[in-house]
């Protein structure tokens, strides 16, 4: 005998029957499909402005429109990639939607972990259409493969030249540098014991490879809109075909002396901090990592434009993308969420949430937006300078991260003097070719 919550005696048989009834009720409740307002979409998310909006204001708007709940797990940049690969490679359905840096996103797409949105629509015509025409073409390429669509961009980024307008004025620099020669001259002129002429981010893999070296090499040879400057379409290394890889390293070496102390270890956070605190006068880095520099003591003193060039007006376009997990049990609901996003409201909420790396066409093209988001000036300068967008390095490969790491190691060796630029690029060619083959 035992007692129930009313302190009444309950026989063993009665107790067993009661337990069985509760277990049966729980099992039956799983058999019947959940109502629409019970559906929850879980996102493997990042931790920046747009991602906070994605599970905040965007989730609220989607809940109001459809009754579907959207939740997510925030991850810092470094661990996001590790977690994404562990979850997706093991066929986990914990996350229905996954956000990804655009340089990583071909890995889940080509491995079959991202749902093919075009095939889903073909199989089920009642699904809503995706309005990709509302989003920037340069950002759309990363989630397309073999003519099919696998996801959407959530943010569009580009290397931005950030400079201190007040320090330029004080140093008598009238023209904002548009070439690397002018950049070098400005760094020299601006450098003092209090404020470094510029800063590089020599300690960060992505920051050095695609940010510092990438922003130099991107304009050295003529490229097409879907070309990248590391591999050609046949996946062969091309990054030093005309000596441009070495030349980009030389371009970095010539300004190291005008950097703050400790630049060898700088990654994105340190670069933004030294700029925010007024310890450096200019730098070139990705537009999505400089959010927050206006929050420091130098608010309103920063100018933004596209990176200087060497020969050709070309700028990398990167950013973040979102895909639906092919293993998700709610993959159609995930599709519907993505289709709703392409209507535009979600992207407006990203902007209102503080995101400045925008990919909604009508936002990018709207001059009024620049007044509220100064960093957007860099994208507006594309048209007057006739800038051609180009793609991120090695984005077509499933192991772009490994290629990026190899390049980082060799570029860093070239910049710090462990190797000559020529040797660093020769070694990089061998290692990249081997890494491509796997």
């Amino acid at each position: 005998m035992t007692t129930n919550f009313l302190k009444q005696s309950v026989g063993r048989r009665t107790f067993m029957r009661g337990s069985a009834a509760i277990a049966a009720a729980a099992a039956v409740s799983r058999v019947f499909p959940a109502r629409a307002d019970d559906v929850t979409l879980n996102i493997l998310n990042s931790n920046v402005a747009w991602s906070n909006a994605l599970t905040g204001s965007v989730a609220e708007a989607y809940k109001a429109a459809t009754g579907v709940t959207v939740t997510g797990e925030s991850n810092p940049y470094e661990s996001h990639y590790d977690k994404m690969l562990i979850e997706l490679s093991q066929g986990s359905d914990t996350f229905d939607l996954v956000t990804s840096d655009s340089i990583w996103v071909q890995q889940p797409i080509r491995n079959g972990w991202a749902a093919n949105l075009d095939d889903m629509k073909a199989k089920n015509p009642s699904l809503p259409a995706l309005h990709m025409e509302n989003l920037e073409d340069g950002a759309n390429i990363y989630t397309a493969y073999d003519g099919k669509r696998f996801g959407l961009p959530v943010a569009m980024t580009t290397p931005v030249f950030v400079y201190r307008k007040d320090l330029f004025e004080k140093a008598g620099i009238d023209k904002v540098p548009t070439t690397w020669d002018e950049y070098l001259a400005a760094a020299k002129k601006l450098h003092s014991s209090d404020v470094a002429g510029n800063t590089l981010l020599l300690g960060g893999v992505d920051a050095l490879c695609t940010g510092d070296w990438g922003s130099r090499i991107q304009s050295m040879t003529k490229l097409g809109a879907t070309d990248d400057y590391v591999l050609n379409a046949d996946k062969e290394p091309i990054f030093n075909s005309e000596g441009q890889g070495e030349h980009a390293i030389e371009r970095l070496k010539e300004v190291v002396q005008y950097c703050p102390q400790g630049v060898q270890g700088f990654d994105y956070p340190e670069g933004s901090s030294v700029m925010q605190q007024g310890k450096a006068a200019m730098f070139v880095t990705w537009s999505d990592v400089i959010v927050g520099i206006e929050d420091g003591p130098n608010k309103g003193k920063f100018g933004y434009t596209v990176a200087p060039i060497e020969k050709f007006e070309q700028q990398q376009i990167g950013g973040w993308s979102i895909i639906a997990n092919a293993h998700s049990s709610k993959v159609e609901e995930a599709y519907k969420f993505l289709a709703w996003m392409t209507e535009g409201k979600a992207y407006e909420l990203f902007r209102e949430g503080g995101e400045s790396s925008l990919c909604l066409k009508k936002d990018v093209e709207n001059p009024d937006i620049v007044k509220t988001v100064p960093m957007m000036q860099a994208f507006h300068d594309f048209a007057p300078r006739k800038t051609v967008p180009i793609a991120l390095p090695a984005y077509r490969l499933t192991n772009a991260v490994a290629i990026e790491r190899v390049l980082f190691e060799e570029i860093q060796a070239g910049v710090t003097g462990s190797k000559t630029p020529k040797q660093a690029m020769a070694d990089a060619y061998d290692r990249v070719a081997k890494t491509v083959k796997g």
Binding site: Y81, D82, L85, I86, S89, Q90, Q107, R110, N111, G112, L202, G203, P260, Q261, G262, V263, Q264, G265, F266, D267, E270, S273, V274, Q277, K279, T398, N399, V401, A402, R405, E409, Q412, A413, T416, S418, G438
Partner: protein
């Protein structure tokens, strides 16, 4: 009938039955632990040995994933970065444990003086080892920022020029040693201090009667008597220092220019950045073997087993 009636035979049967039942009791009690340990410990270990002999890379499913024999081990021996990370780990461990030991012994001797306020101070000294290594890494990363960190601010107050700390290839490893010593010296201190307090008083009284001064007593009486405790503390710290990962990953991620690329950071990169799990498992096994070899050499050189036997014999 006679047999049944006799208590002797009946008693023997009962005793046999009891013994038969008892025979399985220890196994039954041990079974849950053994099953769990096999599942969570032994099986993954053996599985990782198998993985180390494959080219398993779950993130590149279009490439071969099969059995490759000892190819990954051969690759490890010709991988200069792995060799470099092993050497750095050895240097880091030697410096960190050596400095921690000296500081811990000095602190233990100091706190043994039982001066006023030392009980509270002893508690404060232990705080670093209570902080999670991730928090330690983030805090030190900020403190060591060359232009904005508090360390250079304090140095400037003393008229010393700013240092690059973890942001330079020449000083990054020493900066990591500094953080490790700061965090784990208290661990060695508490072991050595406990050992010091447990020492018998008579040898010290005898030394005093013989006219030995404090320094002579420390070197000729205290340290030799503390040897078993010091050996245990060093052994634990050596194993721990070789495995150091969190703080280094947070502060330098192995850089700049591989200056702090300890083997644990390299292992993480191979396994969870490139998902080269076959090679990652192989270098994990080689690292495990290296650690075992170091521990065995240490045990042999210090006569650790003899010290243990003497202690148990006493």
């Amino acid at each position: 009938m006679r047999a049944v009636a006799s208590g002797e035979i009946k008693g023997t049967g009962a005793a046999t039955a009891r013994r038969a039942g008892e025979k399985y009791v220890p196994w039954m009690l041990l079974a849950p632990t053994m099953i769990i340990m096999t599942l969570v410990g032994f099986f993954p270990l053996v599985h990782s040995l198998y993985i180390s002999m494959t080219s398993y890379r779950p993130t590149e499913i279009d490439k071969p994933q099969g059995f490759v024999g000892l190819e990954n081990y051969v690759r490890a021996f010709s991988d200069p970065l792995f060799g470099h990370s092993l050497l750095l780990t050895g240097l880091f461990t030697g410096l960190s444990v050596g400095l921690s030991l000296v500081l811990a012994v000095l602190l233990a001797a100091l706190f043994n003086l039982r001066l006023p306020g030392f009980v509270a101070m002893r508690t404060i000294v232990l705080v670093p080892m209570l902080i999670t290594p991730i928090a330690v890494g983030i805090t030190w990363r900020i403190m060591m920022m060359p232009d904005l960190g508090v360390l250079n601010f304090l140095l400037a107050m003393l008229g010393i020029p700013p240092q690059p700390w973890a942001n330079s290839a020449t000083s990054a490893l020493m900066a990591m040693v500094l953080v490790d010593v700061w965090q784990w010296t208290p661990f060695m201190f508490i072991i050595i201090f406990a050992g010091l307090r447990a020492l018998p008083r008579s040898p010290f009284e005898a030394a005093a009667i013989d006219g030995a001064g404090p320094i002579r007593t420390f070197y000729s009486v205290t340290l030799p008597m503390l040897r078993p405790v010091i050996v245990v503390a060093v052994l634990l710290r050596v194993i721990d220092a070789i495995r150091t990962y969190d703080t280094v990953y947070i502060i330098t991620r192995g850089g700049p220019d591989f200056a702090s690329d300890l083997v644990s950071v390299y292992l993480q990169r191979a396994n969870f950045k490139f998902f080269d799990l076959g090679y990652g498992a192989a270098i994990s096994w080689l690292t495990l073997i290296a650690i075992l070899a170091i521990v065995l050499i240490f045990v042999r050189l210090t006569g650790f087993m003899k010290l243990l036997a003497d202690k148990e014999g006493r």
